[in-house]
């Protein structure tokens, strides 16, 4: 049985660098503390070379030219920890969440899937790097040896079973995390490394240092064994970013969203998942006048002041960050936030990617991801509620339907297998007559009608006048009397012979039909005649 420990050195600093990749390779110092007493808590390797050390005050650190100073970010550290867990779960389902910067994986049975222990180590380093973390990986036959080796050695370390004490011998005793008192005692004794510690007799160590001494001795020999505390898999994917200066324009915001989406998609890819929905939450800069943001109140029902929240449902789970960025950008263009943004958070609802088998005889469908972008672009042209799939409502109210979100029908492929039956049905229909369709005037056009014995004889609407040559009606409909918007109408289907246009040679004028069949109705509540549409 083998265990792999993944350790993120300089974790608070790496968490910040992960959210700002431009800082990678540059002198960077992390500060923490209350503002007048801020001090450096972590420095990058380059920073140590120029003389900036841990514990230095912020004022002193600012004297160094070219040094980037950032505050410690618990939010970034939380996200980096989630990323570390994702990397672990991408390889093994049995994982221990040891510390924010350390995890341990059970590698039993993974050789057949990923290859040798070295290959597994390389894979873990590669996946961590793709998610923006530089890690140490140590693989050993017991958990604590792997943990100590990961903290003590850079890169990938594979410790063969039985050679633990030999490998750990060169590490300093503090790698075993002794208490301050024990550490001081060992230092006084001149015990500097694990090899020095293993040379001491256990019994004497026990007499002088108690149980801690025995534990440290076993750790140094790699003889301590314990079982893994399994962590429950979490399916929460969230990335957030606090901005020093509020962002107002869409272009810089897109840049930041792109970065967050890249990280989010890398995490999803590590878990072999896709995003079924993306939630955007932005904290807005409070306006000095505390004015009410009209746009926000118009576009969103659940908008809270100072917060901009949107959810973007995807037709199929996706993890293409470029495509997601395009969609987010189009959504933001449609409903822009009402104030500059101070903090951005993106969360993905994870789902398994859809696997579809293509076929020679399957009709072509729009690519779901491409289709979503096309629909978002069209919505930008015609408005969000004006593009989709119509769905009829269970009511007799005229022209009642609702627009639903359009997506490539899942069952379309299955339907193809039933094409033959559809064809035969089509043939059956083809033998019969085609049906008349109807064109709706939205909104209904006001009309003037002359009646004789309750029957329309002449009509006038939209500048057209004509005689009724045939009529069918009245067809009375009414309903929803219990609601605020009831309807009560007498409908007529009228065949109309229009009078000739006064200027027939004017090509720019609207062409007037000679005749046609239209549906008129008398609205008893509004007390007027209207044209609902035409048979065409």
């Amino acid at each position: 049985m083998a265990f792999a420990s993944i350790f993120v050195p300089n974790f608070p600093l790496q968490a910040v660098v992960r959210s700002e990749p431009a800082l990678r390779g540059r002198p960077l110092a992390l500060i923490a503390g209350n503002p007048p007493l801020c001090s450096v808590i972590a420095v990058s390797e380059k920073t140590a070379h120029i003389g900036v050390g841990i514990g230095m005050t912020k004022t002193d650190a600012e004297q160094f030219a070219g040094l980037e100073i950032r505050p410690r970010s618990p939010a970034q550290e939380k996200t980096a920890h989630a990323v570390l867990l994702d990397v672990g779960w991408s390889v093994s389902p049995r994982m221990e969440d040891t510390a924010p910067d350390t995890i341990v994986l059970d590698l039993s049975g993974l050789e057949s899937l990923f290859g040798s222990e070295n290959d597994i180590g390389a894979r873990l380093v590669e996946r961590s790097s793709a998610c923006g973390l530089a890690v140490n990986v140590a693989i050993a036959s017991n958990i604590d040896t792997a943990l100590i080796a990961a903290r003590g050695f850079d890169g990938i370390s594979v410790i063969p079973s039985g050679e633990e004490s030999q490998y750990l011998g060169c590490l300093p005793v503090r790698a075993l995390s002794p208490s301050d008192e024990t550490s001081e005692t060992l230092n006084r004794w001149g015990v500097a490394t694990c090899a020095d510690l293993t040379r001491l007799p256990v019994l004497d160590l026990s007499e002088r240092l108690g149980q801690e001494g025995v534990r440290l001795h076993e750790l140094a020999r790699g003889a301590l064994s314990r079982s893994l505390v399994i962590a429950e898999p979490v399916h929460s994917f969230e990335e957030e970013m606090e901005l020093e200066d509020a962002v107002e324009e869409l272009d810089p915001l897109s840049f930041l969203l792109g970065r967050l989406l890249d990280q989010l998609c890398a995490r999803l890819a590590a878990r072999s998942l896709g995003a079924a929905a993306i939630r955007v939450r932005c904290e807005l800069q409070p306006s000095p006048e505390k004015a009410v943001d009209i746009r926000a109140s118009v576009f969103s029902e659940k908008e809270r002041p100072g917060l901009y929240e949107r959810e973007m449902q995807l037709p199929v789970p996706a993890r293409d960050s470029k495509m997601l960025l395009k969609l987010l950008r189009l959504r933001l263009q449609l409903n822009p936030p009402g104030a500059p943004i101070q903090k951005i958070a993106l969360a993905a609802e994870a789902a398994r990617p859809r696997a579809a088998q293509g076929g020679f005889f399957v009709p072509a469908f729009p690519d779901p991801e491409k289709l979503e972008i096309t629909i978002a672009r069209i919505a930008h042209v015609v408005g969000e509620g004006n593009v989709g799939s119509p769905s009829l409502m269970d009511t007799y109210r005229p022209d009642s339907f609702q627009m639903r979100r359009f997506s490539t029908p899942q069952e379309a492929v299955e339907t193809t297998s039933r094409r033959s039956s559809a064809r035969s049905a089509g043939k059956q229909r083809a033998d019969s007559k085609a049906l008349t369709s109807f064109r709706v005037f939205r909104p209904a056009v006001p009309a003037q009608l002359e009646l004789r014995a309750g029957c329309p004889t002449r009509v006038a609407f939209q500048g057209l006048r004509g005689e009724v040559t045939a009529a069918s009606g009245p067809w009375r409909t009414s309903g929803d009397w219990w609601r605020e918007d009831p309807w009560q109408q007498d409908e007529w289907d009228l065949e109309i012979q229009f009078h000739a246009s006064p200027e027939p040679h004017d090509r720019s004028a609207k062409a007037s039909p000679k005749s046609g069949i239209y549906r008129f109705y008398y609205d008893s509540l509004r007390r007027g005649w209207f044209v609902r549409g035409a048979y065409d």
Binding site: T374, N386, V387, A412, S472
Partner: protein
Amino acid sequence: MSSKTSALRLQVESSLAARVASPFQYRGRPAVEAVPTGVPPVDLLTGGLPRGSLTEIYGPPCSGRTSLLISALASRTAAAEVCALVDARDAFDPRSAEAAGVKLEQLLWVRCRNVDQAIRSTDLLIQGGGFGLIALDLGDAPPNLVRYVPLQVWFRFRRAVEHTPTIFLVLEQESNAKTCASLVLGLHAQETQWLRTAGNAGESSAPHPPGHLLDGWEIHAETIRSHCARLECDVADSKGAFWLSGMWNWGGRGQR
């Protein structure tokens, strides 16, 4: 053929050998697949709707254009294809479309307010690709506005759908795409037939006796332009007629 010409031809062929197999051989256009409209007389007249081409259906209001479009949509959605309807004046009636057999869940409906929005939306849909049929309904748009759509727009649409399985259908009051359209079909309504229901055949003082139902109407269709040589099927004649049944047949009027 002189020896000089032969030598020149040989030289051109050899220099282009890596890129073009036979540069002097005329390559005929591949046969275009046509699909049925769902109205047999129109299929007999036109050979069906050609894929990868622009088809224009024009006629005055109430001339059966929408019925033909809906029939084509029903035919395509029944074949498990995904269709799009760009509605320039928001005139589509989902209820009558469903009654005619259109599977609404396979239809993307874009409700526009003007011709400009419709053209831009169509452009996006065609570029997106993957649709079995894209219909641009300019049937209620004022003809003088549609006339202002530049010819290059129609040309671009035609080129965009070329070599794709998409049928691009345009509904108008006048033909505007000119030579960009592979098939142009003109429609106009002829005779309308009203049905008197039983029990209402008696004398009445009203000018139009109550109980009438729209039984149907005859539509005359004429093929104005068709690249028939490219179609796989034979076309009988350039003129024809078909009958549209009234809405009462599908439970509209008489069965309420």
